[in-house]
Protein backbone atom coordinates (compact mmCIF):
# COMPACT_ATOMS: atom_id res chain seq x y z
CA UNK A 1 0.00 0.00 0.00
CA UNK A 2 1.21 3.48 -0.77
CA UNK A 3 2.12 5.41 2.38
CA UNK A 4 2.66 8.62 0.46
CA UNK A 5 0.80 9.72 -2.64
CA UNK A 6 1.59 13.03 -4.28
CA UNK A 7 -0.63 14.24 -7.10
CA UNK A 8 0.10 17.24 -9.30
CA UNK A 9 1.89 19.05 -6.46
CA UNK A 10 2.72 22.68 -7.13
CA UNK A 11 4.82 24.83 -4.81
CA UNK A 12 7.48 27.50 -4.89
CA UNK A 13 9.11 30.37 -3.09
CA UNK A 14 6.98 33.49 -3.02
CA UNK A 15 5.77 34.06 -6.56
CA UNK A 16 8.50 31.88 -8.09
CA UNK A 17 7.04 28.45 -8.91
CA UNK A 18 9.46 25.54 -8.60
CA UNK A 19 7.25 22.47 -8.66
CA UNK A 20 5.04 22.30 -11.74
CA UNK A 21 2.93 19.28 -10.86
CA UNK A 22 4.82 16.52 -9.09
CA UNK A 23 3.19 13.11 -9.05
CA UNK A 24 4.71 10.21 -7.18
CA UNK A 25 3.77 7.33 -4.93
CA UNK A 26 5.92 5.78 -2.20
CA UNK A 27 5.08 2.30 -0.90
CA UNK A 28 5.03 1.64 2.83
CA UNK A 29 8.35 0.14 3.93
CA UNK A 30 10.14 0.94 0.70
CA UNK A 31 13.33 2.86 0.08
CA UNK A 32 12.64 5.48 -2.55
CA UNK A 33 15.11 7.85 -4.14
CA UNK A 34 14.45 11.20 -5.75
CA UNK A 35 17.24 12.04 -8.20
CA UNK A 36 17.91 15.11 -10.19
CA UNK A 37 20.22 17.99 -10.93
CA UNK A 38 20.56 21.15 -8.86
CA UNK A 39 17.43 23.27 -9.07
CA UNK A 40 15.19 20.45 -10.28
CA UNK A 41 12.95 20.88 -7.22
CA UNK A 42 14.00 17.90 -5.10
CA UNK A 43 14.51 19.83 -1.86
CA UNK A 44 11.42 21.89 -2.54
CA UNK A 45 9.41 18.66 -2.78
CA UNK A 46 10.69 17.47 0.60
CA UNK A 47 10.04 20.88 2.17
CA UNK A 48 6.47 20.83 0.92
CA UNK A 49 6.03 17.30 2.28
CA UNK A 50 7.38 18.40 5.68
CA UNK A 51 5.02 21.38 5.73
CA UNK A 52 7.79 23.97 5.61
CA UNK A 53 6.56 25.42 2.35
CA UNK A 54 2.98 26.32 1.40
CA UNK A 55 1.41 24.18 -1.29
CA UNK A 56 0.08 26.15 -4.25
CA UNK A 57 -1.85 23.29 -5.82
CA UNK A 58 -2.30 19.55 -6.06
CA UNK A 59 -2.56 17.12 -3.20
CA UNK A 60 -0.39 15.18 -0.77
CA UNK A 61 -1.97 12.06 0.76
CA UNK A 62 -0.29 10.32 3.66
CA UNK A 63 -1.57 7.07 5.10
CA UNK A 64 -4.71 7.48 3.01
CA UNK A 65 -5.59 10.97 4.26
CA UNK A 66 -4.89 14.44 2.85
CA UNK A 67 -1.84 15.98 4.51
CA UNK A 68 -2.28 19.64 5.43
CA UNK A 69 -1.14 20.32 9.01
CA UNK A 70 1.75 22.48 10.26
CA UNK A 71 5.29 20.98 10.47
CA UNK A 72 4.94 19.91 14.14
CA UNK A 73 1.74 17.97 13.43
CA UNK A 74 3.43 16.15 10.55
CA UNK A 75 6.34 15.18 12.79
CA UNK A 76 3.81 13.79 15.28
CA UNK A 77 2.22 11.84 12.43
CA UNK A 78 5.61 10.32 11.65
CA UNK A 79 6.85 12.43 8.74
CA UNK A 80 10.35 13.57 9.66
CA UNK A 81 12.74 15.58 7.50
CA UNK A 82 16.53 15.37 7.73
CA UNK A 83 17.30 18.69 6.06
CA UNK A 84 19.95 19.44 3.49
CA UNK A 85 23.13 20.78 5.07
CA UNK A 86 22.47 18.77 8.26
CA UNK A 87 21.21 21.71 10.35
CA UNK A 88 22.29 20.32 13.70
CA UNK A 89 22.13 22.63 16.73
CA UNK A 90 25.84 23.55 16.82
CA UNK A 91 26.20 24.80 20.40
CA UNK A 92 24.15 21.98 21.93
CA UNK A 93 25.71 18.64 22.73
CA UNK A 94 25.05 15.51 20.69
CA UNK A 95 22.89 14.22 23.56
CA UNK A 96 20.85 17.45 23.62
CA UNK A 97 20.42 17.38 19.83
CA UNK A 98 19.04 13.86 20.04
CA UNK A 99 16.81 14.82 22.96
CA UNK A 100 15.29 17.62 20.89
CA UNK A 101 14.72 15.19 18.04
CA UNK A 102 12.19 13.57 20.34
CA UNK A 103 10.49 16.93 21.00
CA UNK A 104 7.06 15.79 19.80
CA UNK A 105 7.14 12.63 21.93
CA UNK A 106 8.97 14.15 24.93
CA UNK A 107 6.21 13.25 27.39
CA UNK A 108 6.62 9.55 26.58
CA UNK A 109 10.00 9.07 28.26
CA UNK A 110 10.06 5.31 27.67
CA UNK A 111 9.65 5.74 23.97
CA UNK A 112 12.33 8.45 23.97
CA UNK A 113 14.73 6.10 25.75
CA UNK A 114 13.92 3.24 23.38
CA UNK A 115 14.50 5.46 20.34
CA UNK A 116 17.82 6.61 21.81
CA UNK A 117 18.94 2.99 22.18
CA UNK A 118 17.95 2.41 18.53
CA UNK A 119 19.87 5.46 17.35
CA UNK A 120 22.96 4.42 19.29
CA UNK A 121 22.77 0.93 17.82
CA UNK A 122 22.76 2.39 14.29
CA UNK A 123 25.30 5.14 15.01
CA UNK A 124 27.56 3.99 17.89
CA UNK A 125 29.74 7.03 17.21
CA UNK A 126 26.98 9.30 18.53
CA UNK A 127 27.11 7.58 21.88
CA UNK A 128 30.88 8.11 22.08
CA UNK A 129 30.40 11.79 21.24
CA UNK A 130 27.36 12.33 23.51
CA UNK A 131 28.76 15.26 25.47
CA UNK A 132 30.50 17.00 22.58
CA UNK A 133 28.95 20.15 21.04
CA UNK A 134 27.46 19.18 17.67
CA UNK A 135 29.33 22.01 15.95
CA UNK A 136 32.66 20.32 16.73
CA UNK A 137 31.72 17.05 14.96
CA UNK A 138 33.10 16.14 11.54
CA UNK A 139 30.82 16.45 8.52
CA UNK A 140 30.08 12.73 8.47
CA UNK A 141 29.30 12.69 12.19
CA UNK A 142 27.02 15.68 11.80
CA UNK A 143 25.13 13.86 9.06
CA UNK A 144 24.77 10.83 11.32
CA UNK A 145 23.52 13.14 14.08
CA UNK A 146 21.01 14.78 11.75
CA UNK A 147 19.64 11.37 10.75
CA UNK A 148 19.78 10.15 14.35
CA UNK A 149 17.90 13.23 15.52
CA UNK A 150 15.26 12.48 12.88
CA UNK A 151 14.94 8.91 14.14
CA UNK A 152 14.37 10.12 17.70
CA UNK A 153 10.86 11.24 16.72
CA UNK A 154 10.04 7.65 15.73
CA UNK A 155 9.29 8.33 12.05
CA UNK A 156 7.18 6.20 9.71
CA UNK A 157 8.39 8.21 6.72
CA UNK A 158 11.91 9.58 6.84
CA UNK A 159 12.73 12.27 4.30
CA UNK A 160 16.50 12.61 3.84
CA UNK A 161 17.79 15.54 1.83
CA UNK A 162 21.22 15.00 0.22
CA UNK A 163 22.83 13.00 2.98
CA UNK A 164 25.95 12.47 0.85
CA UNK A 165 26.57 16.17 0.25
CA UNK A 166 30.20 17.03 0.97
CA UNK A 167 31.06 13.57 2.27
CA UNK A 168 33.90 11.34 1.09
CA UNK A 169 32.90 8.22 -0.91
CA UNK A 170 33.70 6.09 2.13
CA UNK A 171 31.52 8.15 4.49
CA UNK A 172 28.80 8.33 1.86
CA UNK A 173 28.77 4.52 1.73
CA UNK A 174 28.53 4.41 5.54
CA UNK A 175 25.58 6.79 5.56
CA UNK A 176 23.82 4.81 2.79
CA UNK A 177 24.48 1.63 4.77
CA UNK A 178 22.85 3.24 7.83
CA UNK A 179 19.84 4.22 5.71
CA UNK A 180 19.55 0.59 4.51
CA UNK A 181 19.57 -0.49 8.15
CA UNK A 182 16.89 2.06 9.06
CA UNK A 183 14.77 0.99 6.11
CA UNK A 184 15.28 -2.64 7.15
CA UNK A 185 13.69 -1.80 10.50
CA UNK A 186 10.48 -0.86 8.74
CA UNK A 187 10.89 2.90 8.25
CA UNK A 188 9.82 4.12 4.83
CA UNK A 189 12.59 6.26 3.38
CA UNK A 190 12.48 8.91 0.68
CA UNK A 191 15.96 10.17 -0.12
CA UNK A 192 16.90 13.09 -2.26
CA UNK A 193 20.26 12.43 -3.90
CA UNK A 194 22.58 13.66 -6.57
CA UNK A 195 24.79 10.64 -6.05
CA UNK A 196 23.44 8.01 -8.46
CA UNK A 197 25.30 5.31 -6.50
CA UNK A 198 22.31 5.22 -4.19
CA UNK A 199 20.16 3.70 -6.95
CA UNK A 200 21.61 0.25 -6.29
CA UNK A 201 19.80 0.09 -2.95
CA UNK A 202 16.60 1.85 -4.00
CA UNK A 203 13.29 0.03 -4.44
CA UNK A 204 11.91 2.93 -6.41
CA UNK A 205 13.59 5.81 -8.17
CA UNK A 206 12.07 9.06 -9.32
CA UNK A 207 14.00 11.33 -11.62
CA UNK A 208 13.10 14.96 -11.41
CA UNK A 209 13.63 17.58 -14.10
CA UNK A 210 12.49 21.19 -13.93
CA UNK A 211 9.84 20.67 -11.29
CA UNK A 212 8.37 17.43 -12.65
CA UNK A 213 8.97 13.71 -12.23
CA UNK A 214 10.11 12.52 -15.66
CA UNK A 215 11.09 8.93 -14.94
CA UNK A 216 9.74 6.43 -12.41
CA UNK A 217 11.10 2.94 -12.04
CA UNK A 218 12.98 0.49 -9.87
CA UNK A 219 16.44 1.55 -8.71
CA UNK A 220 18.40 -0.97 -10.77
CA UNK A 221 16.30 -0.40 -13.87
CA UNK A 222 16.71 3.37 -13.60
CA UNK A 223 20.45 3.02 -13.28
CA UNK A 224 20.49 1.37 -16.73
CA UNK A 225 17.95 3.68 -18.32
CA UNK A 226 19.34 5.59 -21.28
CA UNK A 227 16.87 8.43 -20.85
CA UNK A 228 17.95 8.81 -17.23
CA UNK A 229 21.59 8.87 -18.21
CA UNK A 230 20.82 11.56 -20.75
CA UNK A 231 18.74 13.63 -18.36
CA UNK A 232 20.83 13.11 -15.32
CA UNK A 233 24.40 12.90 -16.46
CA UNK A 234 23.86 15.15 -19.43
CA UNK A 235 25.40 12.74 -21.93
Amino acid sequence: MALLEVADLRAGYGSVPVLHGVTMSVEEGSNAVLLGLNGAGKSTTLMALAGLLPVAGGEIRYDGRPLTGPPAARVRDGIVLVPEGRHVFPALTVRQNLRLGAWTIRRDSRRVRRNLVDVHSIFPRLEERADQPAGTLSGGEQQMLAIGRGLMAGPRLLLIDEASLGLSPKLTEQVFEAVRLINGRGVTVLMVEQNAGVLAQADTAFVMQQGRITVTGSGAQTLEDEAVRAAYFGS
Binding site: V75, A91, G101, R106
Partner: protein
Protein backbone atom coordinates in the same frame (compact mmCIF):
# COMPACT_ATOMS: atom_id res chain seq x y z
CA UNK B 1 33.39 51.20 53.74
CA UNK B 2 31.70 47.98 54.83
CA UNK B 3 28.41 49.86 54.73
CA UNK B 4 29.02 50.86 51.13
CA UNK B 5 29.84 47.27 50.27
CA UNK B 6 26.53 46.11 51.77
CA UNK B 7 24.57 48.92 50.11
CA UNK B 8 26.18 48.00 46.81
CA UNK B 9 25.39 44.33 47.19
CA UNK B 10 21.69 45.02 47.67
CA UNK B 11 21.60 47.70 45.00
CA UNK B 12 23.28 45.18 42.71
CA UNK B 13 20.49 42.68 43.31
CA UNK B 14 18.16 44.87 41.20
CA UNK B 15 20.72 45.06 38.42
CA UNK B 16 21.10 41.30 38.60
CA UNK B 17 17.36 40.73 38.39
CA UNK B 18 17.07 42.92 35.30
CA UNK B 19 20.20 41.30 33.87
CA UNK B 20 18.63 37.82 34.20
CA UNK B 21 15.80 38.98 31.92
CA UNK B 22 18.23 40.62 29.51
CA UNK B 23 20.30 37.43 29.33
CA UNK B 24 17.18 35.31 28.74
CA UNK B 25 16.16 37.39 25.71
CA UNK B 26 19.73 37.52 24.41
CA UNK B 27 20.21 33.75 24.68
CA UNK B 28 16.91 33.10 22.98
CA UNK B 29 16.85 35.83 20.36
CA UNK B 30 20.27 37.50 20.16
CA UNK B 31 18.43 40.75 20.87
CA UNK B 32 19.42 43.46 23.35
CA UNK B 33 16.18 44.10 25.15
CA UNK B 34 16.10 47.76 26.11
CA UNK B 35 12.46 47.40 27.15
CA UNK B 36 13.35 45.07 30.05
CA UNK B 37 13.23 47.88 32.63
CA UNK B 38 9.79 49.09 31.57
CA UNK B 39 8.21 45.69 32.16
CA UNK B 40 9.07 46.50 35.76
CA UNK B 41 7.89 50.10 35.45
CA UNK B 42 4.47 49.05 34.16
CA UNK B 43 4.17 46.37 36.85
CA UNK B 44 5.02 48.85 39.60
CA UNK B 45 2.52 51.46 38.42
CA UNK B 46 -0.27 48.89 38.05
CA UNK B 47 0.45 47.46 41.49
CA UNK B 48 0.48 50.94 42.99
CA UNK B 49 -2.85 51.76 41.39
CA UNK B 50 -4.47 48.55 42.63
CA UNK B 51 -3.12 48.61 46.18
CA UNK B 52 -2.71 52.30 47.08
CA UNK B 53 -5.23 54.06 44.82
CA UNK B 54 -7.96 51.41 44.98
CA UNK B 55 -7.01 50.03 48.40
CA UNK B 56 -7.09 46.39 47.27
CA UNK B 57 -5.05 43.73 49.11
CA UNK B 58 -1.33 43.66 48.41
CA UNK B 59 -1.35 40.28 46.70
CA UNK B 60 -3.88 41.53 44.15
CA UNK B 61 -1.47 44.36 43.39
CA UNK B 62 1.34 41.87 42.88
CA UNK B 63 -0.72 39.57 40.64
CA UNK B 64 -2.18 42.52 38.72
CA UNK B 65 1.23 44.11 38.25
CA UNK B 66 2.79 40.89 36.99
CA UNK B 67 -0.20 40.23 34.71
CA UNK B 68 0.19 43.73 33.25
CA UNK B 69 3.90 43.13 32.65
CA UNK B 70 3.27 39.79 30.93
CA UNK B 71 0.50 41.33 28.83
CA UNK B 72 2.93 44.04 27.78
CA UNK B 73 5.59 41.43 26.98
CA UNK B 74 3.21 39.46 24.77
CA UNK B 75 2.01 42.64 23.07
CA UNK B 76 5.60 43.72 22.37
CA UNK B 77 6.30 40.26 20.95
CA UNK B 78 3.29 40.37 18.66
CA UNK B 79 3.39 43.99 17.53
CA UNK B 80 7.11 44.82 17.50
CA UNK B 81 9.33 41.75 17.71
CA UNK B 82 7.63 39.29 15.38
CA UNK B 83 7.17 41.70 12.45
CA UNK B 84 10.86 42.66 12.81
CA UNK B 85 12.08 39.07 13.21
CA UNK B 86 13.94 39.04 9.91
CA UNK B 87 15.27 42.60 10.07
CA UNK B 88 18.68 43.50 11.45
CA UNK B 89 19.34 43.30 15.17
CA UNK B 90 20.08 47.03 15.17
CA UNK B 91 16.57 47.83 13.95
CA UNK B 92 15.18 45.50 16.61
CA UNK B 93 17.27 47.22 19.29
CA UNK B 94 16.08 50.69 18.26
CA UNK B 95 12.48 49.47 18.20
CA UNK B 96 12.85 48.15 21.74
CA UNK B 97 14.29 51.48 22.91
CA UNK B 98 11.17 52.93 21.33
CA UNK B 99 9.02 50.53 23.35
CA UNK B 100 10.70 51.68 26.57
CA UNK B 101 10.27 55.39 25.75
CA UNK B 102 6.66 54.79 24.68
CA UNK B 103 5.90 52.98 27.94
CA UNK B 104 7.46 55.81 29.94
CA UNK B 105 5.48 58.41 27.98
CA UNK B 106 2.24 56.52 28.61
CA UNK B 107 3.01 56.28 32.34
CA UNK B 108 3.73 60.01 32.47
CA UNK B 109 0.42 60.75 30.72
CA UNK B 110 -1.69 58.35 32.74
CA UNK B 111 -0.04 58.57 36.15
CA UNK B 112 1.52 62.09 36.03
CA UNK B 113 5.25 62.42 36.72
CA UNK B 114 4.93 62.71 40.49
CA UNK B 115 7.06 60.70 42.94
CA UNK B 116 5.21 57.84 44.62
CA UNK B 117 5.87 55.60 47.58
CA UNK B 118 4.97 51.95 47.17
CA UNK B 119 4.44 50.10 50.45
CA UNK B 120 6.90 47.23 50.99
CA UNK B 121 5.95 43.56 51.11
CA UNK B 122 7.06 43.32 54.72
CA UNK B 123 6.71 46.30 57.04
CA UNK B 124 9.34 46.79 59.70
CA UNK B 125 12.60 48.44 60.59
CA UNK B 126 15.92 48.17 58.85
CA UNK B 127 18.50 45.49 59.49
CA UNK B 128 22.11 46.40 60.20
CA UNK B 129 24.48 44.71 57.77
CA UNK B 130 28.15 45.80 57.94
CA UNK B 131 26.96 49.14 59.25
CA UNK B 132 24.44 49.76 56.48
CA UNK B 133 20.71 50.06 57.17
CA UNK B 134 19.10 47.48 54.87
CA UNK B 135 15.33 47.21 54.39
CA UNK B 136 13.61 43.81 54.67
CA UNK B 137 12.44 44.51 51.11
CA UNK B 138 16.07 44.50 49.97
CA UNK B 139 16.74 41.18 51.68
CA UNK B 140 13.75 39.72 49.84
CA UNK B 141 15.05 41.19 46.59
CA UNK B 142 18.44 39.53 46.93
CA UNK B 143 16.83 36.20 47.85
CA UNK B 144 14.43 36.38 44.89
CA UNK B 145 17.32 37.20 42.56
CA UNK B 146 19.21 34.11 43.74
CA UNK B 147 16.13 31.91 43.31
CA UNK B 148 15.21 33.27 39.87
CA UNK B 149 18.75 33.12 38.50
CA UNK B 150 18.96 29.50 39.62
CA UNK B 151 15.48 28.77 38.23
CA UNK B 152 16.43 30.23 34.85
CA UNK B 153 19.69 28.28 34.76
CA UNK B 154 17.63 25.15 35.45
CA UNK B 155 15.07 26.13 32.79
CA UNK B 156 17.74 26.01 30.08
CA UNK B 157 18.41 22.37 30.98
CA UNK B 158 14.77 21.33 30.51
CA UNK B 159 13.29 20.25 27.17
CA UNK B 160 11.53 23.60 26.90
CA UNK B 161 14.72 25.54 27.61
CA UNK B 162 16.67 23.46 25.11
CA UNK B 163 13.95 24.17 22.55
CA UNK B 164 14.45 27.90 23.15
CA UNK B 165 18.22 27.58 22.68
CA UNK B 166 17.73 25.38 19.64
CA UNK B 167 15.45 27.94 18.00
CA UNK B 168 18.09 30.62 18.46
CA UNK B 169 20.80 28.43 16.93
CA UNK B 170 18.96 27.10 13.89
CA UNK B 171 15.36 28.06 13.31
CA UNK B 172 14.94 25.68 10.36
CA UNK B 173 16.25 22.74 12.39
CA UNK B 174 13.94 23.68 15.26
CA UNK B 175 10.97 23.57 12.88
CA UNK B 176 12.14 20.24 11.52
CA UNK B 177 11.96 18.62 14.97
CA UNK B 178 8.52 20.15 15.48
CA UNK B 179 9.27 23.18 17.65
CA UNK B 180 6.90 26.04 16.81
CA UNK B 181 8.84 29.30 16.43
CA UNK B 182 5.90 31.47 17.44
CA UNK B 183 5.29 29.53 20.64
CA UNK B 184 8.96 29.86 21.58
CA UNK B 185 8.93 33.59 20.86
CA UNK B 186 5.83 34.11 23.02
CA UNK B 187 7.29 32.03 25.82
CA UNK B 188 10.54 33.99 25.86
CA UNK B 189 8.91 37.41 25.91
CA UNK B 190 6.31 36.36 28.44
CA UNK B 191 9.03 35.07 30.75
CA UNK B 192 11.24 38.12 30.24
CA UNK B 193 8.32 40.39 31.04
CA UNK B 194 7.52 38.37 34.15
CA UNK B 195 11.13 38.70 35.33
CA UNK B 196 11.05 42.44 34.61
CA UNK B 197 7.76 42.73 36.47
CA UNK B 198 9.23 41.01 39.52
CA UNK B 199 12.20 43.39 39.45
CA UNK B 200 9.92 46.43 39.28
CA UNK B 201 7.59 45.25 42.04
CA UNK B 202 10.45 44.43 44.36
CA UNK B 203 12.45 47.56 43.68
CA UNK B 204 9.67 50.20 43.69
CA UNK B 205 9.19 50.07 47.49
CA UNK B 206 12.93 50.52 48.15
CA UNK B 207 12.76 54.27 47.46
CA UNK B 208 10.36 56.66 45.80
CA UNK B 209 9.49 55.85 42.21
CA UNK B 210 8.62 57.97 39.19
CA UNK B 211 7.87 57.11 35.53
CA UNK B 212 10.93 55.59 33.92
CA UNK B 213 12.56 54.73 37.26
CA UNK B 214 13.62 51.28 36.04
CA UNK B 215 14.94 52.46 32.68
CA UNK B 216 16.76 55.70 33.47
CA UNK B 217 18.84 54.58 36.44
CA UNK B 218 18.67 50.76 36.48
CA UNK B 219 18.87 49.60 32.87
CA UNK B 220 22.39 50.71 31.98
CA UNK B 221 24.02 49.14 35.07
CA UNK B 222 21.88 46.05 34.40
CA UNK B 223 23.29 45.80 30.86
CA UNK B 224 26.77 46.29 32.30
CA UNK B 225 26.02 43.40 34.67
CA UNK B 226 24.82 41.15 31.83
CA UNK B 227 27.87 41.95 29.69
CA UNK B 228 30.20 41.50 32.66
CA UNK B 229 28.74 38.07 33.26
CA UNK B 230 29.22 37.07 29.62
CA UNK B 231 25.76 38.00 28.19
CA UNK B 232 24.65 34.36 27.97
CA UNK B 233 25.36 33.20 31.52
CA UNK B 234 22.74 33.26 34.28
CA UNK B 235 25.24 32.84 37.12
CA UNK B 236 27.11 35.58 35.25
CA UNK B 237 24.08 37.90 35.42
CA UNK B 238 23.75 37.16 39.13
CA UNK B 239 27.42 37.76 39.99
CA UNK B 240 27.67 40.59 37.47
CA UNK B 241 24.73 42.43 39.05
CA UNK B 242 26.16 42.19 42.54
CA UNK B 243 29.65 43.13 41.33
CA UNK B 244 28.37 46.21 39.51
CA UNK B 245 26.41 47.30 42.60
CA UNK B 246 29.37 46.80 44.91
CA UNK B 247 31.90 48.51 42.65
CA UNK B 248 29.49 51.37 42.04
CA UNK B 249 29.06 52.00 45.76
CA UNK B 250 32.71 51.51 46.60
CA UNK B 251 33.39 54.03 43.82
CA UNK B 252 30.96 56.45 45.40
CA UNK B 253 32.78 56.04 48.71
CA UNK B 254 36.41 55.98 47.56
CA UNK B 255 36.29 58.31 44.55
CA UNK B 256 33.24 60.41 45.30
CA UNK B 257 33.42 61.01 49.02
CA UNK B 258 37.16 60.70 49.62
CA UNK B 259 38.47 62.32 46.44
CA UNK B 260 35.41 64.34 45.35
CA UNK B 261 35.54 62.92 41.81
CA UNK B 262 32.30 63.88 40.01
CA UNK B 263 30.32 61.02 38.48
CA UNK B 264 32.12 58.49 40.65
CA UNK B 265 29.30 55.91 40.46
CA UNK B 266 29.19 55.79 36.65
CA UNK B 267 32.96 56.07 36.37
CA UNK B 268 33.59 53.04 38.55
CA UNK B 269 30.95 50.91 36.76
CA UNK B 270 32.44 51.54 33.35
CA UNK B 271 36.00 51.29 34.58
CA UNK B 272 35.16 47.81 35.91
CA UNK B 273 33.44 46.87 32.65
CA UNK B 274 36.34 48.05 30.48
CA UNK B 275 38.86 46.33 32.73
CA UNK B 276 37.06 42.99 32.70
CA UNK B 277 36.46 43.10 28.94
CA UNK B 278 40.12 43.91 28.32
CA UNK B 279 41.20 40.85 30.25
CA UNK B 280 38.30 38.57 29.36
CA UNK B 281 36.49 39.85 26.24
CA UNK B 282 33.93 37.05 26.59
CA UNK B 283 32.96 38.28 30.09
CA UNK B 284 33.35 36.46 33.38
CA UNK B 285 31.31 33.37 32.50
CA UNK B 286 31.09 33.88 28.77
CA UNK B 287 30.89 30.98 26.39
CA UNK B 288 28.64 30.12 23.49
CA UNK B 289 24.91 29.36 23.94
Amino acid sequence: MGAFFALGLFQGAVYGLLAVGIVLVYKAKRVFNFAQGEFGGVAAFCAFYLTVSLGLPYWIGVVGGLAAAVAMGLAVERVIVRPLESSSRTIMLVALVGVALFAIAVTVLVARPIPRVMPPIVEGGTVDILGAAILPQQLILLAVLAVLAAAMAWFFRTDLGLAVLASSQDLRAAQVVGIGPTAVSRLVWGMAALLGGVAGLLYAPVGIFTPGFMTFTMLVPAFAAAVLGGMTSLPGAFIGGLAIGVVQNLGIYLLGQQLAVPGAAELSVFALLVLVLLIRPQGLFGKEA
